[in-house]
Amino acid sequence: MATSKEMGGVHAESHAAHESDAHAHGEPHEPVFVGERRKQLDELLTRYPTKMAVLLPALWMLQEDRGWVSEAGMAEVAEVLSLTPAYVKGVVTFYTMYHQHPVGKHFIQVCTTSPCNVCGAEDVVNAFLKHTKCGELGVTSDDGRFTVIEVECLGACGFATPVMINSDFIESVTPEKVPDILSKLT
């Protein structure tokens, strides 16, 4: 029987993260959209008939630079694209890849959808939870290095089990390979 927490979690955010204070993570930052980033943004704006279309790319830039998408970051994006912060937050919360909380230095996503599941993906998840000492899905390890989540179909089903670590895509991961994969991370 699923616990009430699990049952309630069907639609819940896939990586509930630690409460955190923005200042603990170094905010306030330099603005994102200056210099090279501003040029990139301006170039992107030429590709679309509306400013709003650059919202997803702008959020990607923010996350690449800061590691996550904070409320302050959303306000910056809103400002450069003439949107409201509330609108930007509405969009951010729709997508799974924007981190609304800081995550570990190595963000590990293990596919466990059916094609990988029948090939033993749950054992791969458990191996990551054990060897990273995260213990629980969505929880960042005490040393701040790792966060492990289950992810829905990564679109590499013939290479079960695919795992994404930040933007690196690793195919055909088995529980036995996990210690070696982790040992190569800085």
Binding site: A2, P49, F94, G158
Partner: protein, 438 residues
């Protein structure tokens, strides 16, 4: 196929000919392999001529719905004074499907060429390739290829020195299965939440940015240059003699409990039994196949009797109770618990529901809870009727078909593997888990 295995002699490699060939990735290598000849030819033709050839070839959409591509293109009215757009759906997220990923990784210029031809054929100056955010390597390859093609003048404001403008841009998604639904993709591209839109208006009338839009799958567009180079007749011949409605080659992604998973390319109408046992090597040692989901997780699950009698084209799969869908073939062997796997699929749809329609938001969540309760040995016989009733309420009643896609595997599971469901309920535990623990 070429990656990760060498092609099987019974494959017909058109789209997959250069999978695994690193020299085919760059512009020079691609040109040496006949790249951009079709685009040059296309830009010298009228859009109507191109649409005519594609119509004649019988090419149908490879994303799942199988809509005739030429007919879709003909809905775009020339000279209406509005900007037209082409969207390429590269949000490949349907569990079991990983063919577009390989096209983009190994032959990015094939897709750019297909997009450029498609854009010109529908009177568009801009094509957007919407790639799911998790596809980091395909994104890098496609972005590099677009830069290269643009710098060489193949695409851009003066494509191939013809004075015609054809821009192709890559747009990165941010994690949402539903953005593979065409109108959700358009919302996402516009910088909105990826909620599907009510149709009508259809994309050809009011699509992305409110303008006439055509949206095609990666594999569909990648096939177009081959059709222009070799002719519609060549393409049409790749079909069953008694079924001219499915033509050409089809990429099949094969995964799950099978000896040689990977992508395979065969002509329409290929026997599914030969495919599974000969090309893909049959089940893993000591196991037997139990079930096949032939077209991505949203299509009805086949038992082996149905699968082994099926022919691999749009009509052949329907004749045996399923659908070709996205041709993402998930194979399940006799060591797997169907209840557990169907529960996992239901959880997938619950996670991915955009939640704007009540039937889907509530239905996927409740179906998941009940499926997981049965799997845990705490279900009742009445749960089976409840699941079918919920499924009925989820089918044909929502803006898009995500809701239907959740109901379909549950219904076919209860219908075909009722004994496994009942064993969980009567035995108050999962018989597979019990056997593994013994």
């Amino acid at each position: 196929m070429g990656y990760p295995h060498a092609p099987h002699p019974r494959e017909t490699t058109v789209l997959s000919k250069y999978f695994g060939d690193r020299d085919a990735i760059g512009l020079d290598g691609w040109r040496k392999r006949g790249g951009y000849v079709a685009l040059e030819k296309a830009l010298g033709m009228t859009p109507a001529e191109i649409v005519g050839i594609v119509k004649d070839s019988g090419l149908r959409g490879r994303g799942g719905a199988g809509f005739p591509t030429g007919l879709k293109w003909s809905f775009m009215k020339p000279g209406d004074g509005k900007p037209h757009y082409l969207c390429c759906n590269a949000d490949e997220s349907e569990p079991g499907t990983f063919k577009d990923r390989e096209i983009m990784r190994w032959t990015p210029h094939a897709l750019i060429e297909g997009c450029a031809i498609g854009a010109y054929a529908i009177g568009a100056e801009t094509a957007y390739i919407y790639i799911r955010g998790e596809f980091t390597e395909p994104l890098e390859r496609m972005e590099a290829a677009v830069r290269e093609a643009r710098a060489a003048g193949v695409i851009g404001p003066n494509a191939m020195d013809t004075g015609k403008r054809v821009d192709v841009w890559v747009h990165k998604g941010a994690g949402a299965y539903i953005c593979g639904e065409e109108t959700a993709l358009m919302n996402s591209l516009e910088g909105r939440r990826g909620n599907p839109r009510i149709k009508p208006p259809f994309p050809a009338v009011a699509g992305v940015f409110g303008q006439p839009t055509t949206i095609n799958n990666v594999e569909t567009l990648a096939a177009v240059p081959h059709i222009l180079n070799n002719g519609a007749d060549w393409y049409k011949k790749m079909a069953r003699a008694d079924n001219p409605r499915s033509t050409g080659t089809k990429l099949w992604s094969v995964c799950g409990n099978i000896a040689r998973p990977g992508n395979y390319e065969v002509e329409m109408g290929f026997p599914f039994k030969d495919f599974l046992y000969d090309l893909c090597g049959g089940p893993p040692p000591g196991r037997k196949f139990k079930a096949v989901i032939p077209g991505g997780s949203s299509v009805p699950i086949m038992n082996m009797e149905e699968a082994e009698a099926a022919l691999m084209d749009y009509e052949g799969m329907v004749a045996k109770g399923s659908m070709l869908g996205s041709a993402g073939c998930i194979v399940i062997d006799d060591a797997q618990c169907m209840v557990k796997q169907i529960a996992r699929l239901a959880r997938f749809y619950a996670h991915e529901s955009c939640a704007q329609c009540t039937q889907c938001r509530e239905g996927t969540a409740w179906a998941t809870k009940i499926m997981e309760r049965i799997e845990a040995g705490e279900g009742t016989m009445a749960d089976l009727d409840t699941l079918l009733e919920i499924g009925d309420n989820m089918t044909g009643k929502t803006i898009c078909v995500l809701s239907d896609s959740c109901a379909v595997p549950i219904a076919s599971g209860i219908q075909k593997w009722r004994d496994e469901f009942e064993a969980h309920i009567k035995g108050k535990r999962c018989p597979f888990r019990a056997a593994a623990a013994a």
